[in-house]
């Protein structure tokens, strides 16, 4: 056991010391920071929306003029000047706009908004909306419809989704749940591929360096494989924890210096208060670790079978196929039908469960399904580790033999 610890230590330290590790640790918080900066800049550029604009209305119909309502950033002002004079006047007041409503306003493109600056979308939309309301109102009165009665019978329905649970009704924001699930699936898929690949490359490297036989004369091949897998798992956990800590730190700093009223991260976090986030992070760690143990054992077996990294491709694809499949349908099907029977089966098969379960997690899957899924994961990784170890112990000492699936099966049945 002491030797496994030594191996873990070497695998961990040699990876954490690499420049690539440090770069990725700081890259993610740097991206978060950049995201804040971009948000801040966009916010700053669009802030001129908030300076009040005065809209000078030249109304040739007379039916709109008194009915415009001032908003916080848009003031309406009635002017009697003809259009040409108002146009000249506009040069002195760059923040003003002219709204010209001709007598035949109903025809297409006859109502005009003139300004020296490009008019913003919001102002346009606001004017359009108000004019439509006023015109509709006027028409109804003209046709003898009582607008007051109409307003009373008009309904304004908006759905407020509530989930009935034992703890009482709670708001459930389907959109946020969907994003959390998909994000979890993407994260777990990428982590499994990236860190599993590290295990595979590590094994292939030991084999092609020819150090493997020196090592297995001191430790059992299984100990070496186990040490490497655990070492890489610890590296990945270190990375996740550093990302979380640094991203939170960056969020606070960004919030302080950029002083954006709605920091996207904090805003997102507040909408996620409805979801048991700590629970999801806990399950993420379980499914990442068990999925990693399951896949990295297979990756280690592949690494042991080949003489160079280029040969790994033919094995990588079939092994990662279940993950890829689940990942692809998770975004479309699973996240929309988290309680379907396909979702259930995918979450009890250990090869697909990590991704499938992460998608379903925000939707609170039933406890018994979680229990089955989690125990299947444990059984699954013990099983694949056992298979992989049998291939590994033969593969690492086999040079110059072109590995194929048939060959791997043969190795599996070798006596010790």
């Amino acid at each position: 056991m002491n030797k496994v610890f030594l191996i873990i230590q070497r695998e961990y330290i040699s990876r954490v010391r690499k420049k690539a590790f440090l770069v990725t640790v700081f890259l993610v918080p740097a991206l978060v920071l950049a995201m804040y900066a971009v948000m801040y800049l966009i916010y700053k550029n669009t802030s001129d929306l908030n300076t009040a604009r005065t809209v000078k209305v030249i109304d040739e119909t007379g039916s709109f003029i008194q009915k415009f309502k001032d908003k916080k950033d848009i003031k309406f002002q009635n002017i009697k000047q003809p259009l040409a004079a108002a146009r000249k006047d506009l040069k002195q007041h760059p923040d003003d706009l002219i709204l010209y409503i001709p007598a035949n306003y109903g025809a297409k493109d006859t109502v005009q908004v003139l300004s020296t600056k490009k008019p913003s979308m919001r102002v346009n939309i606001e004017i359009e909306r108000q004019m439509n309301d006023i015109a509709t109102n006027n028409n109804m009165i003209a046709k003898g419809i009582d607008t007051a009665t109409l307003r009373n019978i008009q309904s304004d329905i908006s759905i407020n989704a509530k989930e009935v649970t034992d703890k009482g009704d709670k708001d459930s924001d389907i959109t946020t749940l969907y994003y959390v699930g998909v994000a979890g699936a993407i994260l777990i898929y990428l982590s499994l591929i990236i860190y599993g690949g590290q295990v595979m490359r590590g094994v292939a490297e030991e084999k092609s360096n020819r150090i493997i036989e020196v090592i297995v004369s001191s430790v059992k091949p299984f100990q070496l494989m186990l040490g490497k897998i655990i070492g890489v798992a610890l590296v990945s956990l270190t990375q996740f924890i550093l990302w979380i800590i640094l991203s939170i730190a960056v969020s606070f700093i960004a919030n302080k210096y950029f002083n954006a009223p709605q920091s996207p991260m904090l805003g997102f976090l507040s909408t996620m208060k409805t979801i048991p986030l700590g629970q999801i992070v806990g399950y993420f760690l379980f499914y990442f670790l068990s999925g990693f143990l399951l896949y990295s054992a297979l990756f280690a077996a592949v690494g042991s079978a080949v003489d160079s990294e280029t040969e790994t491709q033919q094995f990588m694809f079939p092994i990662t196929l279940p993950l890829l499949f689940t990942y692809l349908i998770s975004v479309t099907f699973l996240a929309q039908n988290p309680d379907s029977s396909l979702a259930f089966w995918l979450s009890v098969i250990p090869f697909t469960a990590p991704v499938a379960m992460m998608v379903r997690m925000p939707f609170d899957p039933p406890g018994w399904q979680l229990a089955i899924s989690m125990s299947m994961m444990v059984i699954g990784f013990i099983f694949t580790t056992w298979i992989a170890a049998r291939i590994y112990r033969v593969g690492i000492l086999m040079y110059g033999k072109k590995a194929s699936f048939g060959e791997l099966v043969k190795w599996f049945f070798y006596k010790e």
Partner: protein, 301 residues
Amino acid sequence: MLSIRNIVKQYAGHTALSGVSLEIADGQIFGLLGPNGAGKTSLIRIINQITAPDSGEIYFAGEKLNQSHIERIGYMPEERGLYKKMEIGEQIVYLARLKGLSHAEATRRIKYWFEKLQIENWWNKKVEELSKGMQQKAQFIATVLHEPDLIILDEPFSGFDPVNADLIKNEILELNSKGATILFSTHRMESVEELCDSIALINKSKKILDGRIRDIRNSYRSNTYLIEYTGQKIDFTGQQPFTLLDEIATENSYTIRIKLNEGITSNDVLQYLIPQVHINLLQEVIPSVNEIFIQKVNQIS
């Protein structure tokens, strides 16, 4: 030191070892010889407990071979190498700790060896920055650092340049004189002939010969001598006390190979020749291990 009893090892499709038995005494330099594919590496891997035999037993210093013996064996495989990106000092410390040394003890001993092989400034160098010869020195240090009782070297001189091979050879002899038992394996039989006390010849998964190298060669003596002389060419008419095997004339001397007649010694031959010619050389022709091997293989088949 090592008693190997009836080891059988089969792989799918072929037999690597069929009933091989060997006795290696304490303090010996033992040569395990045979052509490529004879089963040498399979046997060595079994001794190192990298693989297990299908049947048969191995005793190490009187005890049945077990995990605790790993720390008393130093093994330099034929396929050897180091982690390329790791610093050399750190790397040897790691390998030594896997063999059970403490960090401090390993560091102390590496410093001793680095001084001895004059490579003190290498500690922080990465393996990929070192020349091949330097890597070989490091590899050798890693093999013997934990002061093993049994040092196993598989094809030790393949890949070593002549200077390093000689250096390593002397280090091996020094370790042997301090009490370590050495087990060599090689297919280049002439390379270890002068080093070994005892040898075993393995061919096609079977041991065909073993014993002390002197005894083996003595038993293959055939009363054959090589004589070089100058002077008048002798016409051998059949009166001489030996049979002429062949004769080569060079510019100013003649070399003959002879087989002594029954009951005749080399002294009798000299007495016969000295009155006639000037003798430059008389040497008994003892077959080399290589020749014995070929002879033995031919005999069996």
